[in-house]
């Protein structure tokens, strides 16, 4: 099994995923916690977008990618009808 990420890496990872649109922003009034499955799915989406192996884990490659220089804008712009992402047929 791959080594467990440190708490600092998990915190950085969740912040990063939230900031760039892979996770919804936390709501202070909601008691519901973020499920591990939700986090795993968000990581996979990020990995797919960044063309990394889709492990669903905050592995070393994923963390290194999160530390890269980048644009401030989110990658996922939101579901509310404004995103049209098109994939070319192979």
């Amino acid at each position: 099994r791959a080594p467990e990420p440190s708490p600092q890496d998990v915190s950085l990872g969740v912040d990063w995923l939230t900031r760039y649109g892979y996770l919804p922003p936390p709501h202070p009034a909601q008691a519901q916690l973020q499920s591990p499955a939700m986090l795993r799915d968000a990581i996979k989406v990020m990995q797919r977008f960044a063309q990394l192996p889709e492990t669903g884990l905050l592995d070393s490659l994923t963390m290194a990618t999160m530390r890269k220089r980048r644009c401030s804008l989110p990658d996922v712009l939101g579901v509310a009808g404004l995103v049209r992402r098109r994939r070319r047929r192979r």
């Binding site: 099994r1 791959a2 080594p3 760039y20 797919r48 977008f49 960044a50 063309q51 990394l52 192996p53 070393s60 490659l61 963390m63 290194a64 990618t65 530390r67 890269k68 220089r69 980048r70 644009c71 401030s72 804008l73 989110p74 990658d75 712009l77 009808g81 404004l82 995103v83 049209r84 992402r85 098109r86 070319r88």
Partner: protein, 408 residues
């Protein structure tokens, strides 16, 4: 590609640079010309035209360009050098729509061939894509990928990838195809040569096969020939461009062209560099004394080393050559008896590693070629997922494509 859902209704957009970078050597004229070329890159594929407005013009331009730092009164504060580089706002009716901000704490460059700093043209093309209504793309050759990919070449010749063209043309259609419609491209002054341009070719950090790797005061040094890179504890390289060995390590003899191993001594913080059958001791960056023979550390006369590291669990120094290793007691300043022994103690370690180093968290890394084998703190058994490619994790290199299996 991805579309934001908004676009400009008009086909001529105005722009102005409101503030210029304070900490960059780029002149204002060069910055404006780079912005012109970045906008023209989108214009020639779509028929959009861009007019620069001057500061005397009281009208508000569509695309207002600023170099700002930290919190600058929008939802996207910058974060100092590295991290986020720039952002732009999508088309719309708000006064901020189309505006483009660059982090003034980056070292903005133009025409740099060595990867130093951040290429302004590449980032500007990306941000203007947002200003025109495009989101981030996952296509490998797209300028709209969210991560900085380095310079994209000559601004006067750069053309968008197919993915970027398709996204743009979804919004604004194709450019009219007549020979006389190519917008006039302003000439750019040639980039100034970097100071102290090397006469030696600079090695590729992504090719691995380092001569030595060492954790020195929390930073990881990667040595290759007469060059080295430094990786900070934050995970950022100090520079993509390697530093010159002899300019940093003062007093290292000029005839030493390759450092075969390096480590930092725990008891006094001295740094030892190994080459051939000798080693040199440095206090900080300054050489102390003359070269010393490896025989002092218990190796046979004339023997060389592949790797040297100090293991924090017992404070001993390990010197590896091929499939054997010796052990030296730094505290007692003498070699331990009963050596050499077989490297198979380190279960899963590669033979003749390029070097071995211990991380800030106490894990031991054997490095060979482009991969590393990780031994968790206190363990002499490699992690099952070893080896792993070190380029993407440590050296800001692209992930290796699927190919032959990694070395065992």
């Amino acid at each position: 590609y991805a579309l934001s859902g908004s676009m400009w209704k008009k086909r001529t957009l105005t722009w102005r640079v409101q503030s210029f970078p304070q900490s960059s050597p780029l002149k204002q004229e060069v910055v404006r010309t780079i912005m012109h070329h970045a906008l023209t890159t989108w214009g020639i594929e779509s028929g959009l035209t861009f007019e620069e407005m001057y500061s005397q013009d009281p009208r508000e331009p569509d695309i207002l360009i600023d170099f700002a730092r930290a919190y600058h009164q929008d939802s996207y504060p910058f974060d100092g050098q590295g991290g986020t580089l720039a952002h732009a706002f999508f088309p719309g009716e708000h006064s901020i729509s189309g505006d483009t901000h660059f982090d003034d704490e980056e070292i903005w460059t133009y025409g740099s061939k060595d990867g130093e700093g951040t290429d302004l043209f590449a980032v500007a093309v990306h941000e203007f894509g947002h200003a025109l209504g495009l989101g981030h793309s996952s296509a490998p050759d797209s300028i709209m990928r969210p991560f900085y990919q380095g310079p994209v070449g000559n601004p006067t010749k750069y053309r968008l990838s197919q993915d970027d063209r398709e996204g743009l043309q979804q919004l604004y259609g194709k450019a009219p195809q007549t020979p006389h419609d190519e917008p006039t491209r302003k000439p750019l002054p040639p980039p100034s040569p970097p100071p102290n341009s090397p006469s030696l070719p600079v090695p590729d950090r992504c090719a691995g096969n380092f001569d030595a790797i060492a954790n020195i005061r929390g930073e990881t040094f990667f040595f290759k020939g007469p060059w080295f890179w430094r990786l900070q504890p934050s995970g950022q390289l100090v520079s993509h461009r390697p530093a010159r060995l002899h300019r940093f390590w003062e007093g290292l003899p000029a005839q030493v062209k390759v450092i075969q191993a390096a480590y930092s001594r725990h008891r006094d913080g001295r740094i030892l560099l190994f080459s051939g059958s000798q080693f040199w001791v440095f206090q900080d960056r300054q050489l102390e004394g003359a070269a010393r023979p490896l025989a002092e550390l218990g190796l046979p006369q004339g023997e060389e080393v592949d790797a040297v590291f100090s293991w924090p669990l017992n404070g001993k120094t390990y010197l590896v050559r091929g499939q054997r290793y010796w052990r030296y007691d730094d505290a007692a300043a003498r070699p331990d008896p009963g050596y050499p022994r077989d490297l198979s103690l380190w279960e899963g370690a590669p033979q003749a590693p390029d070097d071995v180093t211990v991380s800030n968290t106490g894990d031991t890394y054997f490095v060979k070629g482009t991969h590393y084998w990780r031994f968790p703190k206190g363990s002499v058994k490699a992690e099952p997922d070893s080896p792993q490619p070190m380029g993407p994790q440590w050296l800001d290199c692209p992930a290796p494509s699927a190919g032959p299996r990694s070395p065992k």
